[in-house]
């Protein structure tokens, strides 16, 4: 178990500052997820930690030792790439054992560790296949196995599930999480999918434009976003925002409330017309056009009969209203 500390880390590509003065602690043995829209610097930060990019300014400490100048392999980290990046001309066995082979590990030890990892990941029957003969999920497991075999201090995942179909993705999500918990290993996981962040993380780090917007446990971030960006980015469907007189009534520039915090109420102050209804079976997502043309989304039970064009009115749960000032900072989170 190792902790990773970033101190005032900056990186430029040409004139663009891709990560700006990042201070962050990745706690040992925890699952940390970097999340944010594309181009927010999360992948660059991961590559800086891995050593695939050089840090322009600031320090990277792994277990207290400055690793800023250390070559990637000597940092003791293992990375799982988005494209899996398996060696196409080598068998699964050779792929898994490659790191040990270049480190001159005795062949008998390599064989033993490869077998052990293959067993753990259910790859034993596939050891002599080439990557091209594997399914997407199997390739993903080989990529994880290749990282695991080195017994790294920490795992780095760069959007590892984005090439898988939805069913496999949610299965792999659980497998990766279980593996990380069983081994008690430090992990950093980059994704742009807020659902992945919510379901997998011990700690979420929300990025935007090279800066950290908020760090915290999933529910903490969900319930107490510190600014409007985080409020809108985390949670699906995303938070509804209202401004103007309705917000002013709460003493804020903007107010936000989540779709599940709207209650159907014939005398409610939020009046509008149903535009579309998404039926999910256990619940329905109702998209409503308010009288001032703002669109909001509400989560309702399926037994409420709703049709496009029907008038509708809601009352938001007053305890669940988020208030933001003119700089989009949350007013109630301190």
């Amino acid at each position: 178990m190792s902790n990773i500390v970033l101190e005032r880390v900056s990186k430029r590509f040409g004139d663009t500052l891709v990560t700006d003065n990042i201070d962050l602690v990745i706690p040992a043995g925890k699952f940390t997820v970097f999340v944010g829209p594309s181009g927010c610097g999360k992948t660059t930060l991961l590559r800086l930690i891995a050593g695939l990019e050089d840090i322009d300014q600031g320090r990277l400490l792994i277990d207290g030792a400055d690793m800023g100048q250390t070559p990637p392999a000597a940092r003791g980290l293992a990375m799982v790439f988005q494209s899996y990046a398996l060696y196409p001309h080598m068998s699964v066995r050779a792929n898994l054992g490659f790191a040990l082979k270049v480190a001159h590990t005795p062949p008998r030890d390599i064989a033993a560790r490869v077998e052990a990892v293959a067993k753990l990941l259910d790859l034993s029957a596939l050891l002599d296949r080439k990557p091209a003969a594997l399914s997407g999920g199997q390739r993903q497991r080989v990529a994880i196995g290749r990282a695991l075999v080195r017994e790294p201090k920490a795992f780095l995942f760069d959007e590892p599930l984005s090439n898988l179909d939805a069913a496999l993705r949610s299965q792999m999500r659980i497998e990766i999480r279980r593996l990380q918990q069983d081994l008690g290993i430090t992990a950093i996981y980059v994704t742009h999918d807020q659902a992945e962040a919510m379901t997998m993380a011990d700690q979420i780090v929300v990025f935007r434009e090279g800066r950290i917007e908020q760090v915290g446990a999933p529910l903490e971030i969900y319930r107490r976003p510190t600014n409007r960006f985080v409020a809108g980015f985390i949670g699906s469907p995303c938070m509804n925002f209202l401004s103007g007189a309705r917000a002013a009534a709460f003493g804020a520039t903007t107010i936000g409330f989540r779709p599940e915090h709207l209650r159907l109420d014939a005398s409610g102050e939020l009046r509008g017309v149903v535009r579309t209804v998404e039926h999910l079976g256990n619940e329905a997502l109702v998209h409503v056009q308010l009288e001032d043309d703002t669109m909001i989304t509400a989560r309702c039970t399926e037994d409420t009969a709703l049709h496009p064009g029907a008038p509708i009115a809601f009352t938001p749960d007053p305890a669940s209203i988020h208030r933001f000032d003119q700089d989009n900072r949350a007013l109630d989170v301190g």
């Binding site: 695939l52 398996l86 270049v102």
Partner: protein, 291 residues
């Protein structure tokens, strides 16, 4: 072939204007046969001439059939002149310069493909631009340098010149090939602890094998066929097959039949190598074209 017949079958089943256009496109194959014949004609001419007597070879109108076939020219070229010596020189010079070109070209192309700088594109263009200058423009200075350095008429001298001449082409081809290799795989090797040499030899080279093979074949052929430098800076010790062939048009007269026989003999090694790595070549020359 299967693709050809399947799309043909579909167009026959649904005869739409689109299918008609598709059918016409297949007919374009026919003129290509004619084009192939035109390209191969000089070769065919030389092949026939190599079996004629000197008199028949220059006869006008030329005869394509009905002359007395003979192997005399081959016997003479092989027996009375130093064909084997020239063959040996060609192999040493073309082989040596091609290996040296790859040795220098692979790291250069690796750097340009995987660690590009702001100047990479300009550098690539600049390298290629050197190929646009006529070689004769630098003949005198190079000749003088070579004379002073004792490189005239040596294997090393010719091989170095051919390496310098082919390096831009090799780097361009390798660069284009390496660009097709996903960079993440090399980064994975780096994370796995591979050294730069291991990364290039164990990971990159096997993935780029078709590209390496086609590059090697191209620069080997170019070096094998090079005649400007070999004619000008070799006399006896490092004479290659191209200079050997040219020797048959001597002040004593032009020996077309023997020249043709010598040409045929010098083509054979290249054809054999090309035949052997045919499969690699096809996948190398169309690398990345189909995915």
């Amino acid at each position: 072939m299967s693709l050809h017949s399947s799309s043909f079958g579909r167009s026959a089943a649904h005869w739409t204007p689109n299918a008609h256009a598709q059918f016409l496109r297949h007919r374009v194959d026919d003129p290509s046969v004619g084009a192939a014949f035109i390209v191969a004609f000089p070769l065919l001419w030389a092949l026939l001439a190599s079996f004629k007597t000197e008199l028949e070879a220059v006869a006008f109108p030329p005869r394509f059939v009905g002359f007395s076939w003979s192997l005399d020219n081959y016997r003479q070229v092989l027996g009375e002149s130093d064909y084997l010596g020239a063959l040996r020189n060609s192999i040493i010079i073309a082989g040596g310069s091609s290996l040296l070109t790859l040795l220098l070209g692979v790291p250069a192309a690796w750097a340009m493909a995987f660690a590009p700088t702001r100047h990479t594109r300009a550098l690539l263009l600049w390298m290629l631009s050197t190929k646009m200058l006529p070689a004769v423009g630098v003949l005198i200075p190079i000749f003088l340098f070579y004379r002073d350095w004792g490189l005239l008429d040596t294997h090393l001298g010719v091989a170095l010149l051919l390496t310098a001449g082919n390096l831009p082409i090799a780097i361009w081809m390798l660069y284009a090939n390496f660009k097709e290799v996903p960079g993440e795989i090399l980064e994975a090797a780096r994370m796995d602890g591979a050294s730069l040499t291991q990364e290039i030899l164990i990971v990159l080279a096997p993935m780029a094998a078709p590209g390496l093979a086609s590059t090697f074949f191209l620069i080997f052929t170019l070096a094998w066929n090079e005649s400007f430098w070999t004619l000008n800076i070799t006399t006896t010790d490092a004479t290659t097959l191209t200079a050997f062939i040219a020797a048959f048009s001597s002040p004593q007269g032009l020996f077309w039949a023997k020249l043709s026989a010598a040409s045929m003999l010098s083509i054979v090694p290249v054809i054999v190598i090309g035949w052997l790595c045919q499969r690699q070549l096809v996948s190398g020359l169309t690398f990345g074209a189909v995915k």
